[in-house]
Protein backbone atom coordinates (compact mmCIF):
# COMPACT_ATOMS: atom_id res chain seq x y z
CA UNK A 1 0.00 0.00 0.00
CA UNK A 2 1.49 3.29 -1.06
CA UNK A 3 1.57 6.37 1.18
CA UNK A 4 -1.15 7.96 -0.90
CA UNK A 5 -3.45 4.96 -0.59
CA UNK A 6 -2.76 4.85 3.15
CA UNK A 7 -3.67 8.50 3.69
CA UNK A 8 -6.84 8.03 1.65
CA UNK A 9 -7.79 5.01 3.78
CA UNK A 10 -7.22 7.02 6.98
CA UNK A 11 -9.34 9.92 5.70
CA UNK A 12 -12.16 7.59 4.68
CA UNK A 13 -12.06 5.48 7.86
CA UNK A 14 -11.01 7.78 10.70
CA UNK A 15 -12.37 5.50 13.45
CA UNK A 16 -10.39 2.47 12.23
CA UNK A 17 -7.25 4.59 11.90
CA UNK A 18 -7.54 6.20 15.34
CA UNK A 19 -8.62 3.01 17.12
CA UNK A 20 -5.88 1.02 15.40
CA UNK A 21 -3.28 3.69 16.19
CA UNK A 22 -4.06 3.77 19.93
CA UNK A 23 -4.21 -0.03 20.05
CA UNK A 24 -0.84 -0.20 18.29
CA UNK A 25 0.67 2.14 20.88
CA UNK A 26 -0.74 -0.03 23.68
CA UNK A 27 0.70 -3.18 22.07
CA UNK A 28 4.12 -1.52 21.83
CA UNK A 29 3.78 -0.44 25.48
CA UNK A 30 3.05 -4.02 26.50
CA UNK A 31 5.94 -5.46 24.49
CA UNK A 32 8.53 -2.88 25.56
CA UNK A 33 7.28 -2.52 29.16
CA UNK A 34 10.69 -3.23 30.80
CA UNK A 35 12.34 -0.42 28.79
CA UNK A 36 9.79 2.33 29.40
CA UNK A 37 11.36 3.77 32.54
CA UNK A 38 9.73 1.13 34.70
CA UNK A 39 11.11 -0.62 37.75
CA UNK A 40 10.21 -4.14 38.95
CA UNK A 41 6.41 -3.85 39.37
CA UNK A 42 6.43 -6.27 42.30
CA UNK A 43 9.37 -4.85 44.28
CA UNK A 44 8.27 -3.53 47.67
CA UNK A 45 9.72 -0.44 49.34
CA UNK A 46 7.76 0.22 52.55
CA UNK A 47 9.65 3.51 53.03
CA UNK A 48 7.85 4.99 50.03
CA UNK A 49 4.31 3.88 50.88
CA UNK A 50 1.31 5.67 49.28
CA UNK A 51 3.34 8.53 47.84
CA UNK A 52 1.31 10.83 45.56
CA UNK A 53 2.35 11.17 41.91
CA UNK A 54 5.71 12.96 41.64
CA UNK A 55 8.74 13.20 39.39
CA UNK A 56 10.20 10.04 40.89
CA UNK A 57 6.90 8.07 40.98
CA UNK A 58 4.88 9.27 37.99
CA UNK A 59 1.65 7.61 39.09
CA UNK A 60 2.52 7.49 42.82
CA UNK A 61 3.07 4.36 44.93
CA UNK A 62 0.60 1.92 46.48
CA UNK A 63 0.07 0.60 50.01
CA UNK A 64 3.18 -1.59 49.82
CA UNK A 65 5.34 1.07 48.22
CA UNK A 66 5.23 -0.43 44.73
CA UNK A 67 5.54 1.96 41.79
CA UNK A 68 2.04 2.35 40.27
CA UNK A 69 3.39 3.54 36.89
CA UNK A 70 5.41 0.34 36.46
CA UNK A 71 2.46 -1.75 37.59
CA UNK A 72 0.08 -0.08 35.15
CA UNK A 73 2.53 -0.43 32.24
CA UNK A 74 3.15 -4.10 33.01
CA UNK A 75 -0.60 -4.53 33.56
CA UNK A 76 -1.18 -3.83 29.86
CA UNK A 77 0.51 -7.19 29.17
CA UNK A 78 -2.13 -9.08 31.17
CA UNK A 79 -5.08 -7.21 29.64
CA UNK A 80 -3.93 -7.55 26.04
CA UNK A 81 -2.90 -11.21 26.45
CA UNK A 82 -6.30 -12.07 27.93
CA UNK A 83 -8.18 -10.00 25.31
CA UNK A 84 -6.35 -11.41 22.29
CA UNK A 85 -6.28 -15.03 23.56
CA UNK A 86 -10.00 -15.05 24.35
CA UNK A 87 -10.84 -13.42 21.01
CA UNK A 88 -8.81 -15.96 19.00
CA UNK A 89 -9.87 -19.01 21.01
CA UNK A 90 -13.58 -18.20 20.98
CA UNK A 91 -13.41 -17.33 17.26
CA UNK A 92 -11.81 -20.69 16.40
CA UNK A 93 -13.97 -22.86 18.68
CA UNK A 94 -17.14 -20.90 17.92
CA UNK A 95 -16.58 -21.09 14.15
CA UNK A 96 -16.05 -24.85 14.19
CA UNK A 97 -19.18 -25.47 16.30
CA UNK A 98 -21.18 -22.88 14.34
CA UNK A 99 -20.28 -24.35 10.93
CA UNK A 100 -21.02 -27.86 12.19
CA UNK A 101 -24.42 -27.00 13.65
CA UNK A 102 -25.38 -24.92 10.63
CA UNK A 103 -24.43 -27.69 8.23
CA UNK A 104 -25.22 -30.91 10.10
CA UNK A 105 -28.88 -30.36 10.95
CA UNK A 106 -29.19 -33.41 13.21
CA UNK A 107 -26.93 -31.96 15.92
CA UNK A 108 -28.41 -28.47 15.70
CA UNK A 109 -31.20 -28.72 18.26
CA UNK A 110 -29.03 -30.23 21.00
CA UNK A 111 -26.03 -27.94 20.48
CA UNK A 112 -28.18 -24.80 20.34
CA UNK A 113 -29.98 -25.69 23.60
CA UNK A 114 -26.56 -26.06 25.26
CA UNK A 115 -25.54 -22.66 23.84
CA UNK A 116 -28.81 -21.07 25.03
CA UNK A 117 -28.14 -22.46 28.48
CA UNK A 118 -24.58 -21.13 28.59
CA UNK A 119 -25.74 -17.74 27.30
CA UNK A 120 -28.28 -17.39 30.07
CA UNK A 121 -25.48 -17.44 32.67
CA UNK A 122 -24.10 -13.88 32.91
CA UNK A 123 -20.41 -13.82 31.83
CA UNK A 124 -18.99 -12.67 35.15
CA UNK A 125 -20.92 -15.29 37.14
CA UNK A 126 -19.89 -18.09 34.78
CA UNK A 127 -16.26 -17.08 35.20
CA UNK A 128 -16.65 -16.76 38.99
CA UNK A 129 -17.93 -20.35 39.19
CA UNK A 130 -14.92 -21.66 37.27
CA UNK A 131 -12.39 -19.59 39.19
CA UNK A 132 -13.86 -20.56 42.58
CA UNK A 133 -13.19 -24.21 41.76
CA UNK A 134 -9.72 -23.80 40.30
CA UNK A 135 -6.63 -21.92 41.32
CA UNK A 136 -6.49 -18.27 40.28
CA UNK A 137 -4.29 -18.04 37.18
CA UNK A 138 -4.29 -16.13 33.92
CA UNK A 139 -4.85 -19.37 32.01
CA UNK A 140 -8.01 -20.16 34.00
CA UNK A 141 -9.32 -16.62 33.51
CA UNK A 142 -8.84 -17.02 29.74
CA UNK A 143 -10.63 -20.41 29.74
CA UNK A 144 -13.51 -19.05 31.84
CA UNK A 145 -14.15 -15.99 29.66
CA UNK A 146 -13.77 -18.08 26.47
CA UNK A 147 -16.51 -20.49 27.61
CA UNK A 148 -18.79 -17.50 28.15
CA UNK A 149 -18.04 -15.94 24.74
CA UNK A 150 -18.10 -19.04 22.51
CA UNK A 151 -21.95 -19.22 22.30
CA UNK A 152 -22.07 -15.70 20.79
CA UNK A 153 -19.74 -16.74 17.96
CA UNK A 154 -21.65 -19.99 17.46
CA UNK A 155 -24.93 -18.10 17.05
CA UNK A 156 -23.44 -15.71 14.50
CA UNK A 157 -21.69 -18.38 12.40
CA UNK A 158 -24.68 -20.73 12.57
CA UNK A 159 -27.14 -18.13 11.34
CA UNK A 160 -24.77 -17.10 8.52
CA UNK A 161 -24.25 -20.75 7.55
CA UNK A 162 -28.00 -21.35 7.43
CA UNK A 163 -28.39 -18.49 4.93
CA UNK A 164 -25.28 -19.28 2.90
CA UNK A 165 -26.05 -22.98 2.46
CA UNK A 166 -29.22 -22.08 0.52
CA UNK A 167 -27.31 -19.89 -1.96
CA UNK A 168 -27.26 -20.91 -5.62
CA UNK A 169 -23.46 -21.23 -5.79
CA UNK A 170 -23.50 -23.74 -2.92
CA UNK A 171 -26.11 -25.73 -4.77
CA UNK A 172 -23.97 -25.55 -7.91
CA UNK A 173 -20.93 -26.78 -6.00
CA UNK A 174 -22.96 -29.66 -4.66
CA UNK A 175 -24.22 -30.46 -8.15
CA UNK A 176 -20.71 -30.85 -9.53
CA UNK A 177 -19.96 -33.26 -6.71
CA UNK A 178 -18.06 -31.19 -4.16
CA UNK A 179 -17.72 -32.97 -0.83
CA UNK A 180 -19.49 -31.49 2.23
CA UNK A 181 -16.14 -30.57 3.80
CA UNK A 182 -15.09 -28.75 0.63
CA UNK A 183 -18.39 -26.86 0.54
CA UNK A 184 -18.03 -25.79 4.17
CA UNK A 185 -14.42 -24.65 3.96
CA UNK A 186 -14.26 -23.40 0.36
CA UNK A 187 -17.67 -21.84 -0.10
CA UNK A 188 -19.27 -21.10 3.26
CA UNK A 189 -16.45 -20.27 5.68
CA UNK A 190 -14.83 -17.54 3.52
CA UNK A 191 -18.13 -15.65 3.48
CA UNK A 192 -18.34 -15.59 7.28
CA UNK A 193 -14.88 -14.08 7.81
CA UNK A 194 -15.97 -10.44 7.52
CA UNK A 195 -18.67 -10.66 10.17
CA UNK A 196 -16.46 -12.90 12.28
CA UNK A 197 -13.68 -10.29 12.30
CA UNK A 198 -16.02 -7.60 13.63
CA UNK A 199 -17.41 -9.94 16.30
CA UNK A 200 -13.90 -11.06 17.32
CA UNK A 201 -12.83 -7.44 17.79
CA UNK A 202 -15.76 -6.77 20.12
CA UNK A 203 -15.06 -9.99 22.04
CA UNK A 204 -11.47 -8.82 22.60
CA UNK A 205 -12.84 -5.67 24.28
CA UNK A 206 -15.42 -7.59 26.29
CA UNK A 207 -12.75 -10.05 27.48
CA UNK A 208 -10.46 -7.24 28.68
CA UNK A 209 -13.40 -5.72 30.55
CA UNK A 210 -14.34 -9.11 32.04
CA UNK A 211 -10.77 -9.78 33.21
CA UNK A 212 -10.56 -6.36 34.86
CA UNK A 213 -13.95 -6.85 36.58
CA UNK A 214 -12.98 -10.34 37.77
CA UNK A 215 -9.61 -9.20 39.14
CA UNK A 216 -11.33 -6.21 40.75
CA UNK A 217 -13.65 -8.44 42.80
CA UNK A 218 -10.88 -10.93 43.59
CA UNK A 219 -11.75 -13.70 41.14
CA UNK A 220 -9.20 -12.97 38.43
CA UNK A 221 -5.46 -13.35 37.97
CA UNK A 222 -3.52 -13.93 41.24
CA UNK A 223 -3.07 -10.77 43.36
CA UNK A 224 0.71 -10.98 42.94
CA UNK A 225 0.36 -10.31 39.19
CA UNK A 226 0.09 -6.61 38.32
CA UNK A 227 -3.12 -6.38 36.26
CA UNK A 228 -5.32 -3.29 35.96
CA UNK A 229 -8.13 -4.97 37.85
CA UNK A 230 -5.78 -6.06 40.65
CA UNK A 231 -4.27 -2.57 41.00
CA UNK A 232 -7.78 -1.13 41.33
CA UNK A 233 -8.77 -3.86 43.81
CA UNK A 234 -5.79 -2.92 45.98
CA UNK A 235 -6.66 0.77 45.68
CA UNK A 236 -10.23 0.12 46.84
CA UNK A 237 -9.50 0.55 50.55
CA UNK A 238 -7.78 3.90 50.06
CA UNK A 239 -9.49 5.44 47.04
CA UNK A 240 -11.17 8.27 48.93
CA UNK A 241 -7.81 9.72 50.02
CA UNK A 242 -5.65 8.36 47.17
CA UNK A 243 -7.90 8.44 44.09
CA UNK A 244 -4.92 8.06 41.72
CA UNK A 245 -4.55 4.42 42.85
CA UNK A 246 -7.75 3.69 40.94
CA UNK A 247 -7.66 6.56 38.45
CA UNK A 248 -4.58 5.59 36.43
CA UNK A 249 -5.42 1.91 35.81
CA UNK A 250 -9.04 2.95 35.15
CA UNK A 251 -7.89 5.45 32.53
CA UNK A 252 -5.71 2.88 30.75
CA UNK A 253 -8.49 0.28 30.87
CA UNK A 254 -11.08 2.68 29.44
CA UNK A 255 -8.80 3.93 26.64
CA UNK A 256 -7.93 0.34 25.66
CA UNK A 257 -11.58 -0.75 25.45
CA UNK A 258 -12.51 2.48 23.66
CA UNK A 259 -9.86 1.96 20.98
CA UNK A 260 -10.96 -1.64 20.44
CA UNK A 261 -14.62 -0.61 20.18
CA UNK A 262 -13.70 2.15 17.70
CA UNK A 263 -11.81 -0.40 15.62
CA UNK A 264 -14.83 -2.73 15.77
CA UNK A 265 -17.31 0.00 14.82
CA UNK A 266 -15.07 1.12 11.95
CA UNK A 267 -14.69 -2.42 10.62
CA UNK A 268 -18.44 -2.98 10.87
CA UNK A 269 -19.16 0.18 8.88
CA UNK A 270 -16.55 -0.79 6.30
CA UNK A 271 -18.14 -4.20 5.79
CA UNK A 272 -21.75 -3.07 5.89
CA UNK A 273 -22.12 0.56 4.76
CA UNK A 274 -25.92 0.42 4.82
CA UNK A 275 -25.89 -0.41 8.51
CA UNK A 276 -23.32 2.30 9.18
CA UNK A 277 -25.70 5.15 8.49
CA UNK A 278 -28.02 3.97 11.20
CA UNK A 279 -25.95 2.85 14.17
Amino acid sequence: MSAKQLSRFILKNPTIALGGFILGLLLLTAIFAPWLGTVDPTSLSPVYRTRPPSEKFWFGTDLLGRDVYSRVIFGSRISLTVGISVALLSAIIGTIIGLATGFIRSVDAVVMRVMDGLMSIPTILLAIALIALTRASMQNVIIAITIAEVPRVVRLIRSLTLTLREQAYVEAARAIGASPLRIVFQHIFPNTIAALTVQTTYICGLAILAEASLSFIGAGVPPSTPSWGNIMAEGRALWQVKPYLIGFPALFLSITILSINMLGDGLRDLINPRFAKKL
Partner: protein, 313 residues
Amino acid sequence: MLSYILRRLLLTVPVMLVVALFVFGLLSLTPGDPAILLAGEDATPQDIARIRATLGLDQPFLLRFGNWLWQIMHGDLGNSLFTGLPVRDMIAQRLAPTFTLMIMTLIVSVCIAVPLGALAAWRHNKIFDRLVMMIAVLSFSVPSFVVGYLLAYTFGLQMRWLPVQGYVPFSQGFWASIQTLILPTLALGSVYIALITRISRATLLETLSQDYIRTARAKGVDDKGVLFHHALKNVAVPIITVVGSGVALLISGAVVTETVFSIPGVGRLTVDAILRRDYPIIQGVILMFSFLYVLVNLTVDLLYRVFDPRIKY
Protein backbone atom coordinates in the same frame (compact mmCIF):
# COMPACT_ATOMS: atom_id res chain seq x y z
CA MET B 1 -51.68 -17.99 21.82
CA LEU B 2 -52.06 -20.47 24.71
CA SER B 3 -50.24 -23.18 22.80
CA TYR B 4 -47.44 -20.72 22.05
CA ILE B 5 -47.08 -19.80 25.73
CA LEU B 6 -46.97 -23.49 26.67
CA ARG B 7 -44.40 -24.28 23.99
CA ARG B 8 -42.30 -21.31 25.02
CA LEU B 9 -42.49 -22.39 28.68
CA LEU B 10 -41.42 -25.92 27.76
CA LEU B 11 -38.41 -24.53 25.90
CA THR B 12 -37.10 -22.97 29.12
CA VAL B 13 -36.81 -26.43 30.69
CA PRO B 14 -33.81 -27.66 28.62
CA VAL B 15 -32.14 -24.24 29.01
CA MET B 16 -32.38 -24.34 32.80
CA LEU B 17 -31.30 -27.98 32.73
CA VAL B 18 -28.11 -27.00 30.89
CA VAL B 19 -27.46 -24.25 33.46
CA ALA B 20 -27.97 -26.73 36.30
CA LEU B 21 -25.78 -29.36 34.65
CA PHE B 22 -23.07 -26.75 34.05
CA VAL B 23 -22.83 -25.38 37.61
CA PHE B 24 -23.12 -28.87 39.04
CA GLY B 25 -20.86 -30.61 36.54
CA LEU B 26 -18.07 -28.06 37.12
CA LEU B 27 -17.51 -29.59 40.56
CA SER B 28 -16.65 -32.93 38.97
CA LEU B 29 -14.96 -31.65 35.82
CA THR B 30 -12.35 -29.44 37.45
CA PRO B 31 -8.99 -31.17 37.83
CA GLY B 32 -8.03 -32.31 41.32
CA ASP B 33 -10.22 -33.05 44.29
CA PRO B 34 -12.73 -30.21 44.69
CA ALA B 35 -13.16 -31.02 48.38
CA ILE B 36 -9.47 -30.39 49.06
CA LEU B 37 -9.51 -27.20 46.98
CA LEU B 38 -12.65 -25.82 48.63
CA ALA B 39 -11.40 -26.70 52.10
CA GLY B 40 -8.46 -24.34 51.64
CA GLU B 41 -4.83 -24.63 52.64
CA ASP B 42 -4.93 -25.27 56.38
CA ALA B 43 -7.81 -27.76 56.45
CA THR B 44 -7.86 -30.88 58.59
CA PRO B 45 -8.78 -34.25 57.05
CA GLN B 46 -12.06 -33.96 58.99
CA ASP B 47 -12.86 -30.67 57.20
CA ILE B 48 -12.23 -32.28 53.83
CA ALA B 49 -14.35 -35.31 54.73
CA ARG B 50 -17.14 -33.02 55.92
CA ILE B 51 -17.10 -31.00 52.68
CA ARG B 52 -17.01 -34.19 50.63
CA ALA B 53 -20.07 -35.47 52.51
CA THR B 54 -21.90 -32.10 52.26
CA LEU B 55 -21.42 -32.01 48.50
CA GLY B 56 -22.09 -35.74 48.21
CA LEU B 57 -18.82 -36.21 46.34
CA ASP B 58 -18.58 -39.82 47.53
CA GLN B 59 -21.51 -40.89 45.32
CA PRO B 60 -21.64 -41.53 41.55
CA PHE B 61 -22.24 -38.43 39.40
CA LEU B 62 -25.68 -39.16 37.97
CA LEU B 63 -27.07 -40.15 41.36
CA ARG B 64 -25.66 -36.97 42.88
CA PHE B 65 -27.02 -34.82 40.07
CA GLY B 66 -30.45 -36.42 40.34
CA ASN B 67 -30.61 -35.91 44.10
CA TRP B 68 -29.40 -32.35 43.82
CA LEU B 69 -31.92 -31.53 41.09
CA TRP B 70 -34.69 -33.02 43.21
CA GLN B 71 -33.64 -30.80 46.14
CA ILE B 72 -33.53 -27.69 43.98
CA MET B 73 -37.02 -28.29 42.64
CA HIS B 74 -38.14 -28.37 46.24
CA GLY B 75 -36.46 -25.04 46.87
CA ASP B 76 -33.44 -26.43 48.69
CA LEU B 77 -30.17 -24.96 47.39
CA GLY B 78 -27.97 -26.75 49.93
CA ASN B 79 -25.99 -25.30 52.80
CA SER B 80 -23.13 -22.83 52.86
CA LEU B 81 -19.73 -24.45 53.45
CA PHE B 82 -18.69 -21.49 55.58
CA THR B 83 -21.68 -20.68 57.80
CA GLY B 84 -23.59 -23.94 57.47
CA LEU B 85 -26.81 -21.96 56.93
CA PRO B 86 -29.18 -22.77 54.04
CA VAL B 87 -28.05 -21.00 50.85
CA ARG B 88 -31.67 -20.13 50.07
CA ASP B 89 -32.00 -18.08 53.26
CA MET B 90 -28.63 -16.41 52.82
CA ILE B 91 -29.57 -15.27 49.30
CA ALA B 92 -33.07 -14.24 50.35
CA GLN B 93 -31.66 -11.89 53.01
CA ARG B 94 -29.61 -10.08 50.37
CA LEU B 95 -32.21 -9.87 47.61
CA ALA B 96 -33.83 -6.56 48.53
CA PRO B 97 -30.88 -4.19 47.84
CA THR B 98 -29.94 -5.97 44.61
CA PHE B 99 -33.45 -6.05 43.18
CA THR B 100 -34.12 -2.45 44.23
CA LEU B 101 -30.93 -1.37 42.45
CA MET B 102 -31.70 -3.41 39.33
CA ILE B 103 -35.33 -2.30 39.03
CA MET B 104 -34.39 1.34 39.59
CA THR B 105 -31.66 1.08 36.96
CA LEU B 106 -34.08 -0.52 34.51
CA ILE B 107 -36.70 2.23 34.95
CA VAL B 108 -34.23 5.13 34.95
CA SER B 109 -32.35 3.75 31.92
CA VAL B 110 -35.46 3.30 29.80
CA CYS B 111 -36.75 6.75 30.80
CA ILE B 112 -33.45 8.39 29.81
CA ALA B 113 -32.46 6.26 26.82
CA VAL B 114 -35.65 6.03 24.75
CA PRO B 115 -36.30 9.81 24.56
CA LEU B 116 -32.58 10.41 23.99
CA GLY B 117 -32.47 7.90 21.14
CA ALA B 118 -35.69 9.29 19.65
CA LEU B 119 -34.37 12.85 19.77
CA ALA B 120 -31.09 11.77 18.20
CA ALA B 121 -32.97 10.06 15.36
CA TRP B 122 -35.19 13.14 14.96
CA ARG B 123 -32.13 15.39 14.70
CA HIS B 124 -30.32 12.83 12.51
CA ASN B 125 -26.76 13.91 11.57
CA LYS B 126 -27.13 17.20 13.45
CA ILE B 127 -24.82 18.15 16.32
CA PHE B 128 -27.17 16.72 18.96
CA ASP B 129 -27.23 13.34 17.23
CA ARG B 130 -23.44 13.22 16.88
CA LEU B 131 -23.02 14.18 20.54
CA VAL B 132 -25.42 11.49 21.76
CA MET B 133 -23.67 8.84 19.65
CA MET B 134 -20.26 9.92 20.91
CA ILE B 135 -21.38 9.67 24.53
CA ALA B 136 -22.92 6.26 23.77
CA VAL B 137 -19.62 4.92 22.39
CA LEU B 138 -17.82 6.33 25.44
CA SER B 139 -20.16 4.73 27.96
CA PHE B 140 -19.83 1.42 26.12
CA SER B 141 -16.10 1.59 26.72
CA VAL B 142 -15.83 2.89 30.27
CA PRO B 143 -16.50 -0.02 32.66
CA SER B 144 -19.42 0.52 35.05
CA PHE B 145 -17.19 0.34 38.13
CA VAL B 146 -14.98 3.09 36.73
CA VAL B 147 -18.10 5.19 36.12
CA GLY B 148 -19.08 4.36 39.71
CA TYR B 149 -15.83 5.67 41.18
CA LEU B 150 -15.95 8.73 38.95
CA LEU B 151 -19.49 9.58 40.12
CA ALA B 152 -18.71 8.83 43.77
CA TYR B 153 -15.60 11.02 43.59
CA THR B 154 -17.30 13.93 41.84
CA PHE B 155 -20.75 14.02 43.45
CA GLY B 156 -19.91 12.31 46.75
CA LEU B 157 -16.44 13.43 47.77
CA GLN B 158 -16.00 16.75 45.95
CA MET B 159 -19.46 18.31 45.71
CA ARG B 160 -20.92 16.41 48.68
CA TRP B 161 -24.36 16.23 47.08
CA LEU B 162 -24.89 12.54 47.70
CA PRO B 163 -23.54 9.84 50.03
CA VAL B 164 -20.27 8.35 48.72
CA GLN B 165 -20.98 4.74 49.64
CA GLY B 166 -23.36 2.61 51.66
CA TYR B 167 -26.98 1.58 51.51
CA VAL B 168 -30.08 2.54 53.50
CA PRO B 169 -33.07 0.18 53.19
CA PHE B 170 -36.49 1.61 52.29
CA SER B 171 -37.74 0.80 55.80
CA GLN B 172 -35.35 3.41 57.24
CA GLY B 173 -36.59 6.30 55.18
CA PHE B 174 -37.59 6.54 51.55
CA TRP B 175 -35.52 9.59 50.62
CA ALA B 176 -32.42 8.46 52.46
CA SER B 177 -32.70 5.19 50.55
CA ILE B 178 -33.17 6.86 47.18
CA GLN B 179 -30.18 9.13 47.86
CA THR B 180 -27.88 6.16 48.42
CA LEU B 181 -29.15 4.52 45.25
CA ILE B 182 -28.81 7.41 42.76
CA LEU B 183 -25.08 7.02 42.05
CA PRO B 184 -25.10 3.18 41.89
CA THR B 185 -28.09 3.38 39.54
CA LEU B 186 -26.29 5.74 37.16
CA ALA B 187 -23.08 3.69 37.31
CA LEU B 188 -24.85 0.40 36.64
CA GLY B 189 -27.05 2.04 34.02
CA SER B 190 -24.28 3.67 31.98
CA VAL B 191 -23.76 0.76 29.58
CA TYR B 192 -27.45 -0.15 29.57
CA ILE B 193 -28.45 3.44 28.69
CA ALA B 194 -25.96 3.48 25.82
CA LEU B 195 -27.32 0.18 24.51
CA ILE B 196 -30.98 1.24 24.62
CA THR B 197 -30.20 4.69 23.18
CA ARG B 198 -28.46 3.15 20.19
CA ILE B 199 -31.22 0.67 19.44
CA SER B 200 -33.97 3.29 19.91
CA ARG B 201 -32.22 5.65 17.52
CA ALA B 202 -31.56 2.92 14.94
CA THR B 203 -35.11 1.55 14.91
CA LEU B 204 -36.70 5.00 14.82
CA LEU B 205 -34.48 5.98 11.87
CA GLU B 206 -35.56 2.81 10.09
CA THR B 207 -39.22 3.54 10.83
CA LEU B 208 -39.01 7.18 9.77
CA SER B 209 -37.88 6.09 6.30
CA GLN B 210 -40.98 3.89 5.79
CA ASP B 211 -43.63 4.63 3.19
CA TYR B 212 -46.46 5.16 5.66
CA ILE B 213 -44.53 7.96 7.35
CA ARG B 214 -44.18 9.69 3.95
CA THR B 215 -47.91 9.17 3.43
CA ALA B 216 -48.67 10.68 6.82
CA ARG B 217 -46.53 13.72 6.04
CA ALA B 218 -48.11 14.03 2.58
CA LYS B 219 -51.58 14.20 4.04
CA GLY B 220 -50.39 17.04 6.30
CA VAL B 221 -49.65 15.44 9.68
CA ASP B 222 -47.25 17.69 11.62
CA ASP B 223 -43.91 16.59 13.14
CA LYS B 224 -45.41 15.86 16.53
CA GLY B 225 -48.16 13.73 15.03
CA VAL B 226 -45.76 11.75 12.87
CA LEU B 227 -43.45 11.05 15.82
CA PHE B 228 -46.02 10.22 18.49
CA HIS B 229 -48.90 8.77 16.47
CA HIS B 230 -47.11 6.90 13.74
CA ALA B 231 -43.43 6.29 14.38
CA LEU B 232 -42.95 5.67 18.13
CA LYS B 233 -45.64 2.99 18.27
CA ASN B 234 -43.64 0.84 15.91
CA VAL B 235 -40.29 0.94 17.65
CA ALA B 236 -41.40 -0.83 20.85
CA VAL B 237 -40.62 -4.40 19.79
CA PRO B 238 -36.86 -4.05 19.06
CA ILE B 239 -36.46 -1.86 22.15
CA ILE B 240 -38.04 -4.31 24.58
CA THR B 241 -35.96 -7.10 23.01
CA VAL B 242 -32.78 -5.22 23.89
CA VAL B 243 -34.14 -4.26 27.31
CA GLY B 244 -34.65 -7.98 27.97
CA SER B 245 -31.33 -9.30 26.68
CA GLY B 246 -29.54 -6.38 28.40
CA VAL B 247 -30.66 -7.70 31.79
CA ALA B 248 -27.55 -9.93 31.61
CA LEU B 249 -25.47 -6.73 31.70
CA LEU B 250 -27.38 -5.57 34.77
CA ILE B 251 -26.73 -8.84 36.59
CA SER B 252 -22.98 -8.91 35.83
CA GLY B 253 -22.78 -5.19 36.55
CA ALA B 254 -24.62 -5.44 39.88
CA VAL B 255 -21.95 -7.77 41.30
CA VAL B 256 -19.23 -5.18 40.61
CA THR B 257 -21.30 -2.06 41.39
CA GLU B 258 -22.27 -3.43 44.81
CA THR B 259 -18.56 -3.85 45.55
CA VAL B 260 -17.81 -0.23 44.58
CA PHE B 261 -20.65 1.27 46.63
CA SER B 262 -20.54 -1.22 49.55
CA ILE B 263 -24.14 -2.33 49.02
CA PRO B 264 -24.93 -5.47 51.03
CA GLY B 265 -26.69 -7.32 48.19
CA VAL B 266 -26.37 -10.65 46.38
CA GLY B 267 -23.30 -9.32 44.54
CA ARG B 268 -21.43 -8.73 47.81
CA LEU B 269 -22.52 -12.19 48.98
CA THR B 270 -21.02 -13.67 45.80
CA VAL B 271 -17.75 -11.74 46.15
CA ASP B 272 -17.41 -12.85 49.77
CA ALA B 273 -18.18 -16.41 48.68
CA ILE B 274 -15.30 -16.34 46.16
CA LEU B 275 -12.83 -15.39 48.89
CA ARG B 276 -14.13 -18.20 51.12
CA ARG B 277 -14.45 -20.67 48.23
CA ASP B 278 -18.05 -21.22 49.30
CA TYR B 279 -19.19 -22.97 46.12
CA PRO B 280 -22.82 -23.79 47.14
CA ILE B 281 -23.52 -20.05 47.41
CA ILE B 282 -22.02 -19.32 43.98
CA GLN B 283 -24.06 -22.23 42.58
CA GLY B 284 -27.25 -20.85 44.13
CA VAL B 285 -26.63 -17.30 42.91
CA ILE B 286 -25.98 -18.48 39.34
CA LEU B 287 -29.12 -20.64 39.31
CA MET B 288 -31.22 -17.76 40.61
CA PHE B 289 -29.88 -15.12 38.22
CA SER B 290 -30.01 -17.43 35.17
CA PHE B 291 -33.59 -18.31 36.02
CA LEU B 292 -34.37 -14.59 36.34
CA TYR B 293 -32.75 -13.93 32.96
CA VAL B 294 -34.70 -16.73 31.26
CA LEU B 295 -37.92 -15.50 32.89
CA VAL B 296 -37.35 -11.88 31.79
CA ASN B 297 -36.77 -12.96 28.20
CA LEU B 298 -39.83 -15.20 28.28
CA THR B 299 -41.88 -12.19 29.40
CA VAL B 300 -40.35 -10.10 26.61
CA ASP B 301 -41.36 -12.72 24.04
CA LEU B 302 -44.92 -12.70 25.34
CA LEU B 303 -44.99 -8.87 25.41
CA TYR B 304 -44.37 -8.69 21.65
CA ARG B 305 -48.02 -9.41 21.08
CA VAL B 306 -49.11 -6.55 23.34
CA PHE B 307 -46.96 -4.00 21.53
CA ASP B 308 -47.47 -5.29 18.02
CA PRO B 309 -50.89 -6.90 17.41
CA ARG B 310 -49.71 -7.93 13.93
CA ILE B 311 -47.49 -10.61 15.51
CA LYS B 312 -49.30 -13.94 15.54
CA TYR B 313 -48.08 -17.02 17.32
